[in-house]
Structure formats: structure tokens, C-alpha cells
Amino acid sequence: MIKKIRIIYLATILPVLLLSACEKDGTPMLPAIKAFNENFNISGFVIGDTIVQYFDNVKIREYYGQVRTVRTGNQLAFTTDEINMELKRKSTGETIYRQTFNINDKQSIVPPFYFDGLKFNEGYAYPVPKENEYTANFYVESNGSSAPVDINIEVLEYYEDSTKPDPIVVVHTTTIPLAENVQPGSWTPYLKIPVPMVIPEQDDHYLYPIVVVRDSKTKDYYISKNRDMSVISLEIPYDGVSPGKVQSIYLNRKTSIEKVTYLESFDLVQLFPR
């Protein structure tokens, strides 16, 4: 009988013991946000290796190519008084830049940087234009689909015929080479851009100079063998222009999420104004 009572007693208190360990409040899922700082800015350019951005040791995003502050990313949310940001080389994990932001800072700005895959630089260095000379260097992104390229000025001679579906009728193209066999993965030297000197064959013809990229081997247009898709925006001098100009053109053949191949290009001189 005593044994029986003991077992019943045990069976009664066992749940009580187990239940006494229960939590009531738990740990809230959402961290309390102390403040939003709406003046965060980061800008720069990355080639050669990817940069990984960490905030308080949490990986947030990766940067390659142009780094800029998008509308939704111009804030910092402070859950503590300070936020530590680290930029690391993806290939090695090495921290290449570190900055701390304080909740009381009026602005949280990361100085513009240029990372060439090896060295983290504050700003991008480029020469001063010589008189009225136009120069440009080129960088073709090295990825699985890239190939050596030729960069030419092509002057289109055309007339307009509004009766045709495409009213611009090109009758003749004059090619002026700018750079030949540009190898992906390294900058070319600064090359002089000539003033394209072409005379139309007929008076009612017009001229339109464009800068296009072609595959060095096949001589096909670089993007989908399509001239218009292979055009880059490089400013060409015209006769009598003054002063000169320096351009640093980054080119990357990419495929959009809609599976369309396109040419991404940036002029780093414009991204890093003096």
C-alpha cells in the first residue's frame, strides 16, 4: 500500500516538476530598434575580387562593379549605439576596410573607394586631360562569357525613309579602330580618341558616330551579334572641341534576369569626380 501511494505521489508531482521549468515570456523575435539614421551613403567600384559587407559581424551583401547607395539602403537601423561595418575580400576573408557608425552621427558616409581586386583605395586615380586631347582606357570584365574585344568608332552614314518600318537606312559604315584585342581582366593604357573625319557620299545623307565593341576573333558585334546592343557611351571629340577629356570605361557582358544579354558599361571618371 505504501508503495502504491509512493508511486501515485510520484506520478502526481512529476508533471509539476516538469511544468515548473516552463517559460512565460520567451525571447522576442524582433530586435528593438533605437533609431534610424537616414543619411547613410556608400559608393565605390570593385573589380578583380568581390567585396563582402558585414555589419556587426553579420554578412549583409556582396559588392562587385559599381557600389552605390540605393534608395532602400540609405538608412542604418541602430539596435545598439554603435554599428561596426567591415568590408572583406571574398577570396581570402581579409578585412580591407573597417568603419564604426554612432547613433548620434548626423551622417554615416563611407568615403568613395576603388578596389582593384588587390588593393583598397580611397577614390579612383586618373590623369588630368592634356589640353584638348580625348583619352580613354578600357577594362573588359573577366567572366565565363567574356572574350578579347576590339573597340571601334563606327560612323554610320544614313538617310531617312519614313515609308519603311525602320525609317533610318544605313548605307555605309566607316570604322575607326580605338583599341584592338583588349584582353579581359586588365586595364588598357590610356588611348587617344581621334576626331572621326568622314564625308557623306550624298548630300541628303547624315553621319552618326557610335562606339561599338566587337569580338576580336570573330569580329562579330560583342552582344548578340547586334550592333545597337554593342554600343557603349564613350564621348567622342569633334573638331574644335575644348578642353580635353579622360574616360575610364568598364565593360561587362551580362545576362539579365529576363535572360537577355546586355553590355554594362561605366565611366569610372564620372563615378569618381574630382
Binding site: D25, G26, I33, V58, I60, Q75, L76, K259
Partner: protein, 1083 residues
């Protein structure tokens, strides 16, 4: 051991000695006697040292026997003369008696009150009570029992083994003595008689039924009825709650506990938590699949009748404890809102009490952008109301550590015999149980209802909607049954109280149909949270009686069942993202005073009460016509239901121009900004009622029946009759819960109040162990009261609002035929065919009358449905395989298979104006039939069971084919559940001579998910020539594309459009593998 001589029985009495002992030990005293008497003793030191008795004797002339008796008095020792020596030994232990008990029935399964049972060896006997039950108390041993009754052949059972303090079950059926008074005694062995009795009830039942008895349940590791039901042929359960019988959905099945209907524990769906009833209190579970006129409740699939014990065979106390581990719950975060101190005990600590009486309705009376002079209700009044409602401390999801499920049970049974034959008995049985279960179901994908139907880009793996459903359930159960039995009378009382705290917290992350993913403002998913803490009290009290007076049997029952279910502080909340440079942060959304409806954040209370009162009475008269026996039975029944439903919705809102920085305030602190001192800048409970928020309805169901049971030729039985049934449902208050429904009406008028429902069952046994059965019955399945309410509510599991269009009764014509063969003891082979015609079947539809592309789920009547199917069952002992392996006699393989097909003529409700300009409604009937809601065309169970004396092993496989989950007008609304196979296994072992049992249950070993899909419009195309045609039915206008059909096809991503072409996987839910270990001990 020491031996001596010269001891003889008479010497011990005659031989006198002088003995002086003063506080001597037993050994010392016996040695003194030995020395004085010169008689040699046999003594064991080990034995004597166990006793510390001190002996004092001062006698000059005492016989040796008297001296030994005095020395050994009050010890467990005795003396014995063995070969002229005196041997001192331990007294033999008096064995506790055991019992033999069971029921005595005739060859048609009718109980035989007054039949007698005699123990051949001792001459002891007993008589069967009014329910045919008997009990014999016997010393342990092996006996031969003889059962006899006037005009029946006596049946002698040999080898009935009675073990100490245990019950030996033995049900017996006596055959009619067709040869008159000549004494015939049938002799069979205990084992054969006992095992055969397991199927005796099914074999002898007048209707088609399958069942499981207490003996069979005892051989399984099942702890509660929810686990046991799926062992019965043609029965499957969803989450131990919804019962599907013969592939027919829960709506068409009825569950009775001790003859009274069980109310649903869910307001908007029909289900009952069968796991509330522990198996050790169950006498039997019978699932009737055909109808006799004396059944007061109509059904189409089956009638689940659970009978609990009232007077136990013997006294018992048993305790059990168990714990279980779920592979998807333990080791992961368990999310939920703030808990109460007593959640583990099933009670609220007051922390969810935010619904005071007399709350002010602010609709049109308060606008925070206006000042008090322009508002009917002042800011101070709103502030006071906010204070009475209370703060928001409980809000906001948080992490908890999950705890393994635990369950404890204490059961007690007592029986008191009031006469020497043990027929008149009084007894009770009680059980107290506790269970806490925590579950974490992972929903890997949800694309139904309000959720986005497909990813914006087919190859974007991050564009998915997923979440978890966390279940926290505490159940307390108290059952107390008692009864009084005599030879002719039996009165029982059944009382069940259960308290359930069930808290379901669902948290889904994803993009909605209205706001699919994009790279701009919908870059990251939303989070939708829904918590429903529900406290349910269920109380059922029942008194019933059976009285036999000469050839009459009277049965009556009175029951009251109440259910009260309160969802206290149910919360719906939404979180939007805010992307920053250092991460994506989520913020709870708050309502605005211009929001139509409840807005993104509201806390609600839902109170449901239902009172059921049911009574039944029947009288049966047995009579003979020549050599044939007949029973005339007539009776009446009455069931009154009264239901109430109240709901309160408290949106949390702020004014249009409020500058309260809610993004910087944890939601738990929002309550601190409700003082209304700065009216435009405060948060407040924006109670807005457009209706009374109430539902009240009464229903009355009464009927009377006459039934005739003819036992005609040997082996031929016919039961036929009819019942007249009245049903009336009145809604007293029926408020709409959606503003849009405020001016809509519900049509649920029954065609007529009275129905005549005939039934007939024919059983013919042309040869022994073979039954041929045929039956017909008409039945009416009645609508639930809430099925006719205008209440609608978002169900997070369906991602949709669930509402009603009004439902009326369904009339069903059931036709059944079955062949049963009982080849050996406990073995069965059967095949059955059924056909059912449903007039106005009620089905769950997905409709989109508002044409918003999302639709909602509703229940309404279709025109008709026809269901036909086959059902097969096999249970076979494996002993026949090889005689040399004795364990095979304890191995059974079993399986059952249900194949069925259904056709429905669907209809669409249309609204219009009659010629006199009044609003009217009519139906548009669809030409092409489709499958019935809830139908499972293929269902099978297969299992192998070993039931040894100590070790039990069981493995089972349950497969359900495609199931119509929610139906609709065209395939892109119809949702199916994909085939699912579940594998379970159990191991049980008995210790301590049967006193302790351990059971290891392993369920869902394959972690089989529940998967649902819709045939997406990308899988079908318009038939040529039908372009621009209006008013065509789907089958006329469309055809499936090559490679697609009504079944599930995953499809592919179109490379050109980057869109999925394939069936839409609407929901996939994983419940995990569960391993549970339980221990039970019987005193």
C-alpha cells in the same frame, strides 16, 4: 539443514516437555525444544534470521506441538513432519483469486440474460446479468467451464487458465438447441473460443459493421481512441480528429460516445479530438456501416460508436506516463505570443483577458482627427476604454524552447458484488488524465487563397511562401462512470469532462496574390501571424438503463452535453519589411481609421457555447412463431441543441496623421501610447461593430421507429423497419461578421420537416462461417448549426476566408452487399460493395463570387452525388505457413482495401430579380459531373502483428490516394490532396507478470508530408473554336495540354516566359516523425 528422527504427528501432542524461555530468539527457542524433546529439527539459518521475534515461555508441562506453535506464532513460518523430522519452513503464500468474465450471447449475437456458467471442477457458478455479462472469481488454476441456457446447446470450454489477480476474458456464443430437449454439449478449447469471440460480434451483428473490442485494443500499443480508430476496416483519421470512413469525408460520419453524439470541438469544421478517450476505459468501438431503424443518427460513411466501461470486472488501479519526441519540434525554436503562467495546466492566468463588458462601438462616433466637440464619443472615453482593455505586452512573436510531449493517467476501477453469484454488482470506473503536446509543422510551401500563386520568375528559388504552424495543447480529462447490474436490470451513468487548451500559432512568410514579389517595394516577403488560444470545456453526463421483464427489453437514456469554447485574445498581425543598409528589419503594421474591416492588427475573442439534451427510449418484445424467433422493437428519440456564438474584434489603429514612431517601439510597448492625451497622436483600440456580432440557433431532432427482427430459418435473419424523423433548425440571431455580408441573406430552408426513413438488413449464412448480407437504408445527415451562420473568418491554414452559403439536410440512399468468411479463429475474409445516392450533398467549395481572383471557401449543397465502391478485408494467422515455428500462431497479417468512385451534379447559386421585382435566387446546374468533396478513391491499410505473451510487435502502412479537398466550379478552384503513405510501428513489452507495460510507438516513419495541389490554368488550354465563347462549362471550353491531366504533374519552367507551367502546389506540410515511449503499471 539439520535432520533428526523420532518425530511423529501424535508424538508431538503427547510428548510433554519443560520449557523456560526468556526473550529468546526463534532459533534459540527451537533448539531448546529440540534439546528437551530429543526430536530432531530441520532449521535453516537464513530463514530464521529473517525474524527477530523474542519468545518468552515458562511452562513445566507443555506439549512439543504447543511449544512450537507458540514460538512460530506471528511469523510466516510453520512446522511440518517430514520422514520423522520436524521441518521448519515458510508458510505457503495464499494465492489471490483471479477472474473469468465475459458475455454470453446467442448465435445471432443477442445477449442471454440469466444464462448460467458452472465450474466443472468445483461446482461453483454464476449467472449472466441483463447485458449477458458474467464474472467468476476463482483460485488460480486450469478449469473447465460449462455454459448453459434453456433451449440452447450447452457449451463446455476446456483449459480455461485463471492466473492470480488477473482477468481471463471469455465471451461465448451458444447455439440454439434445434433438436428439442435432448442434451447436447459442445466442447471446445479456451484458446479457440476466446479468439473466435473477437469476431463474434461482427459475425453476428444484424448490420454491416466492423469493430474492435477491449481484448483487441489491449493487444495494441494504442493509448487513446484516436490511434485505435484507424485499425478498423475502412476507417482513417486525419490528425486523430477527423474520421474518414469508406473514403467518405467526416461530414457524413457520426461519432457517438456511449450512445450520445459528440459535439465538434471546432466551430467551423466537424471534428472531435478522439485522443481525449483513453483506450483502457473502452469496452468496444464499433463502426456501423449500414443502418437499422433504431439508430437515431443518420450517416453515409459510418457511425462510430465508442462504449466506455461502467462496471469493471475486477478492482484495479493503473497509472501510466509517457513522453514523445517529434523530429520537427524538438531542437528547434518554438514560436508563439506571450504565454500564461498556467498554460501547461490548461487554464488562462488572466493575461489574455482583454475583453471587458460594455465596450463602446466607435463606428461613426469617434475620429481621432477631430476634436471632442465633433465626436459623439470623447477622447477621454476612448482612453478609459483603452485602459480597461489593457496593454499590448502579450503581443509579438517570441521564441520558446519546445518541451517533449508528456502524458500521465491515473485510472481506477472498483466493483462490489451484492450477492454470491456475482450477478448483482455495483461498480465504478474513473480516470484522470493529463497531456501536453507541442508540435511544429513545417509548411514548406503555401500557394492557396490570398497567397501569391506562383513565383514572379519561375527560376527564382527565393520567391516562395513558407511557414510553420506551432501547436501547444494541454488536455485534462476526467471520466467517471458507474453502474448497477442485476440479472434483469442495468443502470449506468457516464460522465466525461475535458478541458482543452489548444493554442495554434501560425507564422507564414511570403508574398501575397495582391502584392507579388518585385525588385522594388516587394523585394522582401511579408510575415503574417495568427494566434488562436482556445480553451474548451466539454461536459457530458448520461444516465441509461436496460430492463428485461419477461419477453420485453426496455432501454432508455438521458444525456446532457455542453461545450464551451473560448478563443481568448486571438491575434492576427502582419509585419512589413524595412530594408536598411545594415539589414532587413521587420515592423508590425498598425491599422488606420480608414481601413475597411479589421485592418492588419487585431485581437479577438470568440465564444461558442452549445447545450445538447438528448433522450431515447425503446421497448423490444421477443416472441416465437413456430420454430422461428422474432423481435419487435419500437422507440423514440429526442435531441435538442442550443448554440450561441459571440465574437469581439478589437483592431489596433492610429489616426491618419499620427506621428507615433511605431517602427521604433516594440509592439509590447504600444499599449503605453493609448492615453489619448494627444488624440491625433495616440494609438487606440478601434472597436467597430456593424452588426450585433452574435449568432444563436436552436435545433430539434426527434423521431420514432418501429423495427422487426426475424430469425427465420437457421442462418437467415432479416431486420427491417422505418423511422419517422423530424428536424427543425431556427436561427434566432444571425449577424454577419463581414461588412460586405451585412445585407446578404442565407437560404437554408429545409424542403420538409418530417422524413420517413425505411431500412432493411438481410443476413444469410448458407454454411457455417459464411455470411451473405444485403441492406438498404435511407438516412438524413443534418446540417451543423454554425453551418448556417453568417459568420466568416480567415483561416490561416487555408489562406482564405471560410464562410457559409446556408446548408440544408442531405438525404442518402444506402445500398450495401457483403460476403464474409470466417475461415479460422480470429480470421476474416470479406468483400463488400456499396452504392450511395446523396440528395443535396453539402460540400466545401472555393468560390470567387466577388471576382477578386482569390475567392473564399464556403459550404453549400450540390444537387446530387452518387458514390459506389468496393471494400475488401483480410486477417489471417500465419500458423499455416510452417507448423514447426510455434511463434507463427501469434502472427497475424491484416489488410483492407477500399476502392470507390463518385459523381456529383454541381450547381451554382445565381441571384436575380423575379417578375414582380423582388430579389430571388436560383441555381444553374452543371452538365459535367465531378468527384464528391472529401472523397478518397483508393484507401488501403496493411499490417503485420505479433502478439506474444510478453513481446508485441506491430507494423502498419496506411495509404490514401488522391482526395478532393475542396471542390469548385472549374479545375482551377478544385484543390486535391496528393496520395500519402504513412508507416507506423510499435514495440511493446510486458514486465512483472503483466503488471507493467512499456510501449514504444513510432509514427510517420517516412515523414510523409500532406501535399495539396490545384490543376493550374497553365496546364489546360482552350479548345479550338471556343475562343470568345461565353457561358461554356470548363469541360466544353478547355482541355488539358499534352502531358497534363487531373492528377498531379509538376510541370516545368517555360524558358521563354520564365513562368511555371504545371500544377500549382497549394500547400505542403510536414509533421515529422514521432517516437513516444510510455509506461503503465497496474496494481
Amino acid at each position: 539443514m539439520l535432520l533428526a528422527d523420532s518425530a511423529k504427528g501424535q508424538n508431538l501432542d503427547k510428548l510433554k516437555i519443560v520449557l523456560h524461555l526468556n526473550k529468546s530468539g526463534i532459533k534459540e527457542s527451537l533448539l531448546a525444544v529440540e534439546k528437551q524433546s530429543k526430536i530432531r529439527f530441520s532449521l535453516s539459518d537464513d530463514l530464521l534470521t529473517k525474524y527477530t521475534k523474542s519468545v518468552t515461555i515458562d511452562a513445566e508441562d507443555i506439549s512439543v506441538r504447543k511449544a512450537i506453535d507458540l514460538i512460530l506464532n506471528q511469523t510466516n513460518l510453520r512446522h511440518r513432519i517430514l520422514n520423522n523430522f520436524v521441518l521448519i519452513e515458510t508458510k505457503p503464500v495464499q494465492a489471490k483469486p483471479g477472474h473469468v468474465s465475459g458475455k454470453i450471447v446467442d448465435d445471432k449475437g443477442e445477449t442471454l440474460p440469466g444464462a448460467s456458467v458452472k465450474v466443472v471442477e468445483t461446482g461453483a457458478g454464476a449467472q449472466a446479468g441483463v447485458d449477458g455479462g458474467y464474472i467468476l472469481n476463482l483460485q488460480p488454476g486450469t478449469y473447465t467451464l460449462e455454459f448453459s441456457y434453456i433451449s440452447f446447446q450447452s457449451h463446455r470450454i476446456t483449459g480455461v487458465m485463471v492466473t492470480e489477480a488477473k482477468n481471463t476474458p471469455l465471451n461465448i456464443s451458444l447455439k440454439t438447441d434445434s433438436k428439442g430437449l435432448k442434451e447436447v454439449v459442445v466442447v471446445s478449447s479456451y484458446r479457440r473460443a476466446s479468439v473466435a469471440s473477437l469476431y463474434a460480434q461482427q459475425k453476428n451483428a444484424s448490420n454491416l459493421s466492423d469493430g474492435i473490442s477491449a481484448e483487441q485494443i489491449g493487444a495494441t500499443p494504442d493509448k487513446h481512441v484516436g490511434e485505435t480508430l484507424k485499425r478498423i476496416t475502412g476507417v482513417s483519421t486525419n490528425d486523430n480528429r477527423k474520421v474518414v470512413i469508406r473514403g467518405i469525408a467526416e461530414r457524413y460520419n457520426v461519432s457517438l460516445l456511449n450512445g450520445s453524439a459528440l459535439p465538434s470541438t471546432d466551430v467551423q469544421e466537424r471534428d472531435f479530438e478522439f485522443n481525449l478517450i483513453p483506450t483502457n476505459l473502452v469496452e468496444n468501438i464499433v463502426v456501423a456501416k449500414s443502418i437499422t431503424a433504431d439508430m437515431p443518427y443518420g450517416f453515409a460513411g459510418g457511425l462510430v460508436m465508442i462504449t466506455t466501461k461502467s462496471v469493471p470486472e475486477n478492482n484495479f488501479v493503473s497509472i501510466s506516463a509517457g513522453s514523445s519526441y517529434n523530429s520537427r519540434t524538438i531542437g528547434k525554436d518554438f514560436l508563439g505570443y506571450g504565454r500564461g503562467k498556467y498554460d501547461y495546466l490548461g487554464f488562462d492566468d488572466g493575461g489574455r483577458d482583454h475583453f471587458p463588458d460594455g465596450m463602446l462601438n466607435l463606428v461613426g462616433k469617434f475620429d481621432p482627427t477631430k476634436d471632442d466637440s465633433q465626436n459623439e464619443i470623447t477622447a477621454a472615453q476612448v482612453a478609459e476604454q483603452n485602459k480597461r482593455i489593457g496593454g499590448t505586452e502579450r503581443l509579438g512573436a517570441r521564441r520558446f524552447k519546445p518541451v517533449s510531449s508528456q502524458n500521465y493517467q491515473l485510472s481506477l476501477g472498483r466493483t462490489y458484488s451484492l450477492d454470491s453469484t456475482k450477478v448483482r454488482r455495483l461498480g465504478f470506473i474513473g480516470s484522470l488524465s493529463y497531456r501536453n503536446t507541442q508540435t511544429n509543422d513545417y509548411v514548406s510551401s503555401i500557394r492557396r487563397g490570398d497567397w501569391a500563386r506562383e513565383p514572379t520568375r519561375g527560376d527564382d528559388l527565393t520567391d516562395k511562401n513558407s511557414g510553420n504552424i506551432y501547436g501547444f495543447n494541454t488536455t485534462l480529462g476526467l471520466m467517471l462512470n458507474g453502474g448497477y447490474k442485476t440479472e434483469k436490470h442495468q443502470i449506468n451513468s457516464y460522465n466525461l469532462y475535458t478541458r482543452i487548451f489548444d493554442n495554434q500559432f501560425s507564422r507564414f512568410t511570403g508574398w501575397t496574390f495582391e502584392n507579388p514579389k518585385n525588385d522594388d517595394n516587394m523585394k522582401f516577403p511579408k510575415i503574417l501571424e495568427d494566434e488562436r488560444p482556445k480553451f474548451t470545456d466539454l461536459l457530458q453526463n448520461k444516465v441509461s438503463g436496460t430492463h428485461r421483464v419477461n419477453s420485453f427489453t426496455f432501454e432508455w437514456g438521458l444525456a446532457r452535453t455542453t461545450i464551451k469554447s473560448v478563443e481568448r485574445d486571438a491575434i492576427s498581425a502582419e509585419q512589413g519589411f524595412r530594408e536598411t543598409a545594415n539589414g532587413v528589419f521587420y515592423i508590425y503594421s498598425i491599422g488606420n481609421i480608414s481601413d475597411p474591416g479589421a485592418g492588419p492588427l487585431h485581437r479577438d475573442e470568440y465564444l461558442y457555447k452549445e447545450d445538447n439534451l438528448d433522450a431515447l427510449f425503446s421497448a423490444a418484445y421477443d416472441f416465437k412463431l413456430g420454430k422461428t424467433r422474432h423481435t419487435l422493437k419500437a422507440g423514440t428519440n429526442y435531441l435538442k441543441k442550443h448554440a450561441f456564438y459571440d465574437w469581439q474584434i478589437l483592431p489596433i489603429a492610429m489616426g491618419r496623421n499620427s506621428t507615433v514612431p511605431i517602427e521604433l517601439l516594440p509592439i509590447q510597448e504600444w499599449g503605453n501610447y493609448m492615453s489619448m492625451e494627444n488624440t491625433g497622436n495616440s494609438l487606440f483600440y478601434y472597436k467597430q461593430d456593424y452588426t450585433l456580432n452574435k449568432f444563436e440557433a436552436k435545433s430539434l431532432n426527434k423521431g420514432a421507429f418501429v423495427m422487426l427482427d426475424h430469425k427465420l430459418l437457421p442462418g437467415l435473419r432479416m431486420v427491417w423497419g422505418g423511422r419517422a424523423e423530424y428536424f427543425k433548425l431556427d436561427t434566432i440571431v444571425n449577424s454577419a461578421s463581414k461588412l460586405a455580408d451585412k445585407n446578404s441573406q442565407i437560404f437554408f430552408a429545409e424542403k420538409k420537416d418530417w422524413y420517413f426513413l425505411p431500412s432493411a438488413n438481410l443476413t444469410y449464412s448458407p454454411i457455417k462461417d459464411l455470411n451473405l448480407r444485403a441492406s438498404y437504408a435511407k438516412a438524413a445527415v443534418r446540417p451543423g448549426m454554425m453551418e448556417n451562420s453568417r459568420f466568416s473568418r480567415f483561416n490561416p491554414n487555408y489562406g482564405s476566408v471560410v464562410r457559409s452559403n446556408g446548408v440544408s439536410s442531405t438525404l442518402i440512399d444506402n445500398y450495401d452487399a457483403k460476403i464474409e468468411l470466417f475461415p479460422g479463429a480470429g480470421e476474416i475474409l470479406s468483400a463488400a460493395y456499396f452504392y450511395k445516392y446523396f440528395d443535396k450533398p453539402a460540400e466545401y467549395y472555393r468560390l470567387d463570387n466577388e471576382n477578386n481572383g482569390r475567392g473564399y471557401i464556403t459550404i453549400s449543397n450540390s444537387d446530387w452525388a452518387k458514390v459506389r465502391g468496393w471494400e475488401f478485408e483480410l486477417r489471417k494467422n500465419l500458423n499455416f505457413l510452417y507448423d514447426g515455428a510455434s511463434f507463427l500462431k501469434d502472427v497475424y497479417v491484416s489488410g483492407n482495401l477500399t476502392l470507390q468512385k463518385s459523381k456529383v451534379r454541381a450547381r451554382e447559386i445565381q441571384y436575380g430579380k423575379s417578375s414582380d421585382g423582388l430579389d430571388s435566387m436560383y441555381y444553374k446546374y452543371l452538365k459535367y459531373p465531378r468527384a464528391l468533396y472529401g472523397q478518397v478513391p483508393l484507401l488501403y491499410n496493411a499490417g503485420i502483428q505479433y502478439a506474444g505473451k510478453k513481446l508485441g510487435l506491430n507494423a502498419s502502412l496506411n495509404h490514401a490516394g488522391y482526395k478532393t479537398f475542396i471542390t469548385g466550379i472549374s479545375p482551377n478552384y478544385v484543390e486535391y490532396e496528393r496520395p500519402r503513405t504513412q508507416m507506423d510501428a510499435q514495440v511493446s513489452y510486458i514486465f512483472f507478470k503483466g503488471k507493467m507495460q512499456t510501449k514504444l510507438n513510432m509514427s510517420n516513419l517516412l515523414d510523409a508530408p500532406f501535399r495539396y495541389f490545384i490543376n493550374d490554368p497553365t496546364t489546360f488550354e482552350i479548345k479550338p473554336g471556343n475562343e470568345g465563347e461565353l457561358n461554356l462549362e470548363w469541360n466544353e471550353a478547355y482541355a488539358y495540354k499534352f502531358g497534363f491531366s487531373e492528377k498531379f504533374e509538376e510541370g516545368y519552367t517555360d524558358q521563354v516566359t520564365n513562368r511555371l507551367v504545371g500544377d500549382r502546389q497549394t500547400a505542403t506540410r510536414y509533421t515529422g516523425r514521432t517516437f513516444s515511449l510510455s509506461l503503465s503499471y497496474n496494481f
